[in-house]
């Protein structure tokens, strides 16, 4: 369906209609805007009510990913691009997660050696 919208935007221009490029109803942007406000409020409330532990982490990450998804898909029009561009742009950042995993092991190791060698009485 998304592709059909792009195609219709293109043909619309070729047919001499004034519209060109990405054309979506203003209401769509206002709805996304509203959702971003709601999601931001939720993530602020996570801190305000002092939620802790895994609940805090999972809620923060959930709201973060939902907001990021809305911005990229609707505001940046990624939902209407062809998959060749979508995958070329969205897949490489996922590799950063591999880097994250490597650095988690690395920092655990650093922390451990600091506790062994720099703790009071260890010298």
């Amino acid at each position: 369906m998304a592709q059909a919208m792009t195609a219709s935007a293109d043909t619309g221009h070729a047919a001499g209609a004034p519209a060109e490029g990405q054309q979506h109803p203003i209401k769509l942007y206002l709805v996304v805007w509203g959702w971003l406000f709601v999601l931001s409020t939720f993530s602020y409330l996570v801190d305000y009510f002092h939620l802790q532990g895994y609940l805090r982490w999972s809620l923060i990450l959930l709201f973060m990913m939902l907001k990021a998804g809305l911005i990229v898909a609707i505001f940046m029009h990624m939902a209407w691009e062809r998959l060749a561009l979508t995958y070329a742009i969205l897949l490489p950042p996922l590799l950063v997660l591999v880097f994250v995993a490597i650095m988690v092991f690395e920092s655990d190791y650093t922390m451990l050696t600091r506790m062994i060698f720099f703790a009071p009485g260890s010298g």
Binding site: S43, W57, A84, S107, M115, F118
Partner: protein
């Protein structure tokens, strides 16, 4: 020129979808990104590289925070504000978040009106976006001043792990620089829209090429990216 940037109707209908579409686009003898002009594709690729820059900053922040043996300062208290004797956690940061989201909203609508060739509304919405952005940078300046006066330095702070300061100044500083550049970018393009450059096909002062209203969407891509990065900074640095 339109033939290059806009797929012809017959072509658009016959383009394969899904994985077949990806293989066909990338192996086609012309250009891989058939739905995006070169300008849009290049902005996306620039944003991808910028993603790695911010990714590495956030990654370094995670590494120093996980490996320090000293307690990490509590962002909820550090960034709290005293309002009428009541301390509200993260108030300034929350307001900054809403301001940046609002600027993204006005930008998205500016793109829409630009494609309808509505010069007045496009210019006004872009100026509103730039004003929100400038407000954001101003509030960040206030935040930096407050923290510096409380004794936060890149090499230490009164509350705990010294890495807090370096991570904070590096990440928010780099983001603030992006917002500032975005505001300048917005003002330049808004002036071009207002003057009607894209209707009269006036040539650019730097590239000597005719511009199109698509540049508003490309500016928008950059601006939404700045908002996107803030989503991650807000979650990972301020809320974590």
């Amino acid at each position: 020129m339109e033939g290059i940037t806009q797929a012809r109707p017959t072509e658009a209908i016959s383009q394969p979808q899904g994985w077949h579409g990806i293989v066909a686009d990338w192996s086609s003898d012309q250009r891989a990104f058939k739905s995006a002009s070169w300008g849009k594709a290049m902005m996306w690729i620039f944003l991808l590289s910028d993603t790695f820059v911010f990714g590495c900053f956030l990654l370094s922040y995670m590494t120093v925070r996980m490996s320090t043996t000293e307690p990490w300062p509590n962002p909820s208290e550090v960034f709290g504000l005293e309002i009428a004797g009541l301390s509200v956690p993260l108030l300034l940061i929350a307001i900054m978040t809403f301001i940046l989201i609002s600027s993204s909203g006005t930008m998205a609508m500016a793109v829409n009106f630009a494609y309808r060739r509505d010069r007045k509304r496009t210019t006004l919405l872009m100026l509103a976006t730039a004003a929100f952005g400038a407000t954001f940078v101003g509030m960040q300046g206030f935040e930096w001043t407050k923290l510096i006066m409380e004794g936060v330095r890149p090499w230490g702070n009164p509350w705990g792990a010294p890495q807090f300061g370096s991570a904070f100044f590096m990440i928010t500083g780099f983001h603030g620089t992006h917002v500032t550049i975005g505001v300048i970018f917005l003002l330049i393009i808004a002036r071009k829209v207002w003057r009607g450059d894209f209707d009269t096909e006036r040539r650019g002062f730097f590239t000597s090429r005719k511009g199109r209203y698509e540049v508003v969407e490309i500016t928008g891509l950059y601006w939404h990216f700045v908002d996107l990065v803030w989503v991650f900074i807000f979650a990972l640095f301020y809320l974590w």
